[in-house]
Amino acid sequence: MSLLELRRVTKRFGKVVAVSEVSLAVGKGEILSLLGPSGCGKSTTLRIIAGLTKPDSGSVIHEGRDITELPPEKRNFGMVFQNYALWPHMTVFDNVAFGLRMRGWARQDIARRVKEVLELVKLSGMESRYPTQLSGGQQQRVALARALAPSPSVLLMDEPLSNLDAKLREELRHELRSILRSLRITTIYVTHDQAEAMALSDKIAVMNAGRIVQTGTPAEIYREPADPFVATFIGESIAVPGSLLSVNGSLGLIRLPNGVQLKARISKASPPSKEALLVLRPEAVSLGEGENSLKCRVSRETYMGERVEYRLECEGVELKLRSLDPVLSVGEEARVVIDPSRAIIVGR
């Protein structure tokens, strides 16, 4: 049974439909990411779960009970905000202890629990500091400790790492993952960063224009996109429209606008249709000749440090090719092979 469920939740702001008929289920101990571009409704969905925004229709079910009308202070959820939202007039200790005080914990229990969670987020010894005396990373750790301290039933995180620089973000992402795994706490994590969602989640719900367009494991979302939006939003991909000519098992033959025919795998989450999209990610493209190959010319070379990235003009189609070492130069001609097991066809 799911710990938390959304059933056909809709929220409008004036004429704008922010969340439309969203249904999802999160199991106990599961980490679910709501992934999508800015303005897709993921934060509104999270706020509806928290009780901070009332839906126009639909219901929020927690442990089998309808909590749609329950105020946020009675839900026993924890929340980490994008801008930390630490109270500036309180010390780290007071910030973390706040939820415990609201629940009427005894003083010595509060002191013990605050010490425990500050150790967990590696902030021992910072109890008497004020938020303004902490770095962004430390503030986010305090925000996490504050949300975790009362042992909430569900942890809600709204783009918690987006205000940090790239290096710190990656470091905290790994720490966050190990903390959430060790506590086995049910988490709903909002992000627009697919790498973050992939690294942290058991399940990802991809949102677009207020709707959930696909839910699945990170591998399912990446390998079996349900529609063109998911196929192009997830991963670094180039999508070329075409017509599906034939299907042979899991493989399909697609004809591109330039007349070239290529074989590719049909996404399991997208039923085959004549109007199709060929999704080519860099790992599907390699130098070589023979079947399923294209003649290309190098239009751009970008040195990325650990790899070199080439832009190729291939018979009217633009592709990306990655290589560990520089192997081509701009203007050079080469043939590339499209790996049919890695190129994906989705219905349009």
């Binding site: 901070l52 946020p72 202070e73 839900r75 929340m79 939202a85 939820g99 504050r146 009362p150 809600l156």
Partner: protein, 270 residues
Amino acid sequence: MLGSLLVLPALLVIVLLYLYPFGLAVWISFSGEDGFTLEHYQRVYEVYWEDVIFTFWTSFLSAVIAAVLGILIAAYLRLGADDPIKSFINQLYRIPIFLPMVVVAQMMRGFLAPHGTLNMALFNLGLSQPIEFFDWKGLVIGFVWKQAPFMALIILSGFLMVKDEHIEAARVAGASDLRVLTEILLPMTRNTVAIAFALAYASNVATFTLPYMLIGGAKPTAITVDIAHRVTFFGDWATANALGVVSFLLVSVFAVFYLREMVRRGVYER
């Protein structure tokens, strides 16, 4: 040097229009026929000391009650759900701010009279004798009626400076509206509340119309009534000025706090 010259016109206006008349008033309060004297202050102590104490505590009590009401109104407008009632209250509560004190005093005379609205309501509730409101009680009710909306306006502006996320974080952490008010909003805006209190208290101490129309010359009354009385009937500017200096001292503690806060916040530096 050029900087000092540029400041000079503003400084001259302050000195000529504010500091000079104030300094002159203080000087007169210490001046007798033979030069420096404390006789006017002695008269203040002997004749008006009861009124000094009365002015202090009625002004202070009124400001405290107005602050509590102002905080409650501001909290409702900041934390309450957006609905037509809130929208209505948001418009309604500001009206007393724009009414002149003389109008408020006239309204209070009708409302608090022995056969006025309040006493008639109390009579209908079973009270046999009308309550005398034309004393400290009426003064406090009038001050609160006038000042609570003003304080609500200032305090609400402080509450609106607190980010929604700070309030929402407290709510998700388990805080009721009352706890959000006492644990988040008030501590984060305590200077704004204190400034609102200081302004309301100072305004109460300086008000003439309300105590004059409600209490008049009856004892005890407000210092402002005594000042007017001293000037009108005795032409005694020296004692009137001594009373003025005393009323200034009554508000100066809060005025100093207000000015210090304003400078600390940088309001006067911009």
